[in-house]
Symmetry: C2
Subunit: 312 residues, 2 copies
């Protein structure tokens, strides 16, 4: 049993109650706490030393990343984060200055997004630092953007540039909170997810949730400088395109909007977010599965890149 | 710098916003999300293999404890838990059946208290299992019972029996949620805390928060069978009373009510909670500090038991 099979098995039997709109399985839990205009969003995420960061990461970056990850999930729902709790599990020998610097990074990000840090817990994890952050947020009633909802014909957009995040972007990315809320307020966003497992993998989550398929245009996928750099140096295990499709931790937004809003979106975006690239990378199809169109034709894509020709 | 000094330093600089009623430093965070009748409660807590449980603990007990701890904090606010998120950090080699059993224990407790488990995260902690649980709850507006608020003359009560939790109670305790809500609804509870660090230590938190002191009666402190057993076997590092004062993880409620309600409370309790002992263990004093009265007189108490005679 792998991690995904275990999660599927465990989440099938979780207790529910009348407050649950969306439980496990989307970017955040969505809860009806009785607020007349709002639903609550709840998300937790952890970073572990040696897994999500190594000793070359500055402590401020570790704190930043630990909060930025759940904030990115709040963004993927088009929500607004309000408060955060921090569980800090420290090795038996720890440097207080390191911990203060972790919090400095986390607090700076929290302040930029008006997120209150309302406590948490300090405990012992003997062998390595682990930092779990829970974020509470909110979104208008019936206004959460889910993974499900993409419709055949929708245009697929992605923010930013993809691939090679491990060269540094995974430590300093800014969650796309303002971008997501503006998108939701201005356009009809049918489905959205944040890219943590790689474009191909996360797009698959969106397609599965919506019961649809997608066709990507290889030449449109925005390759990051890091993805190109890795490809050139031979460390990417493939091309820059493969890196952009399969590398994790981009923390960009991937979303579907009706095709007839695509041009208006592309026109309005640059004045709203001049520093952030927005790219239409393909379209949603009724036919299930994920396909990539390049100069040689249309290929089926697996989680790990190309698999076989679907047509030519 | 020890853990407490570090926490004090870190919590002093945490970002706040308009939703925060109580931030770090009480049993839970208390948040005003705009609900007309309610405040939200938010709490996170973690259990770590080799720190909070060992290999003799059954996985169902590990899951139970991981959720029961934050539920005990919700109880200490007289709140009602509504949903929980689980962060499960697993060693690289894990047994799926073990993980399912952890969830079985956690889910069973959640169901008893109508708590929805709305997701969480599975990640890697290479060397040992770590389970962090966040609980969202609610309490009536202005009805949260804080650590602060005890007044001179108040009677101090404690539920259950204290000491020796490490013999087993720490793995199977039931959070005092119903008891706390009944207390809050029926009496004027000035201050409350759940006992996780030991009676002497947690009472000190309550006294510091309230700017008051307390006098305990040694003969009234309810000693658990486990505390007596440890004392007899010489493993308690002292008497059963010392165990009851200083052992952690009792997860009982300690609270202060006006002296003129003490008799009515003692009379009403047994019919409400016939299986749970309730004991008046002393009183709140205007004079700061924590004192213990026994046959030999009145003694000052440190976190670790007796220190010196205050009077005789």
């Amino acid at each position: 049993m792998n991690e995904f099979e275990l999660i599927a098995r465990v989440t099938a039997g979780l207790p529910r109650n009348h407050t649950v709109i969306i439980g496990a399985g989307d970017d955040c839990a969505v809860l009806d706490a009785g607020l007349p205009d709002c639903w609550l969003l709840l998300k937790t995420d952890a970073v572990v030393e040696g897994v999500h960061f190594d000793t070359t990461a500055r402590p401020e970056q570790v704190g930043h990343k630990a909060l930025a990850r759940p904030l990115s999930d709040i963004a993927a729902m088009a929500g607004e984060p309000t408060s955060a709790l921090v569980t800090l599990a420290l090795p038996r020998q720890f440097d207080p200055a390191y911990v203060e610097a972790v919090y400095a990074g986390l607090n700076a990000l929290a302040r930029r997004h008006n997120v209150a840090v309302v406590g948490g817990e300090t405990t012992t994890n003997p062998d390595r630092l682990l930092l779990a952050v829970t974020v509470l947020g909110r979104v208008g009633r019936n206004r959460a953007v889910l993974r499900a909802g993409a419709r055949p014909g929708d245009a697929l957009f992605v923010t930013g540039e993809l691939g090679g995040s491990r060269l540094g972007h995974h430590l300093d990315f800014e969650p796309r909170l303002a971008e997501a809320r503006w998108l939701r307020a201005t356009f009809e966003v049918h489905a959205m997810i944040d890219l943590s497992d790689g474009l191909a993998g996360d797009l698959r989550h969106l397609l599965t949730a919506g019961g649809v398929g997608a066709e990507l245009r290889a030449e449109s996928i925005p390759l990051s400088r890091a993805a190109r750099q890795l490809a050139r140096s031979g460390h990417a295990g493939g091309s820059a395109l493969t890196a952009a499709l399969t590398d994790g931790e981009d923390y960009e937004l991937l979303f579907a909007v009706p095709a007839n809003q695509a041009v208006a979106l592309r026109d309005a975006w640059p004045t709203q977010f001049p520093g952030v690239r927005l790219t239409c990378i393909g379209k949603i199809t009724a036919e299930p599965g994920l396909r990539l169109r390049d100069r040689r034709g249309l290929h089926s894509l697996s989680l790990h890149g190309y698999t076989h020709f679907a047509e030519s």
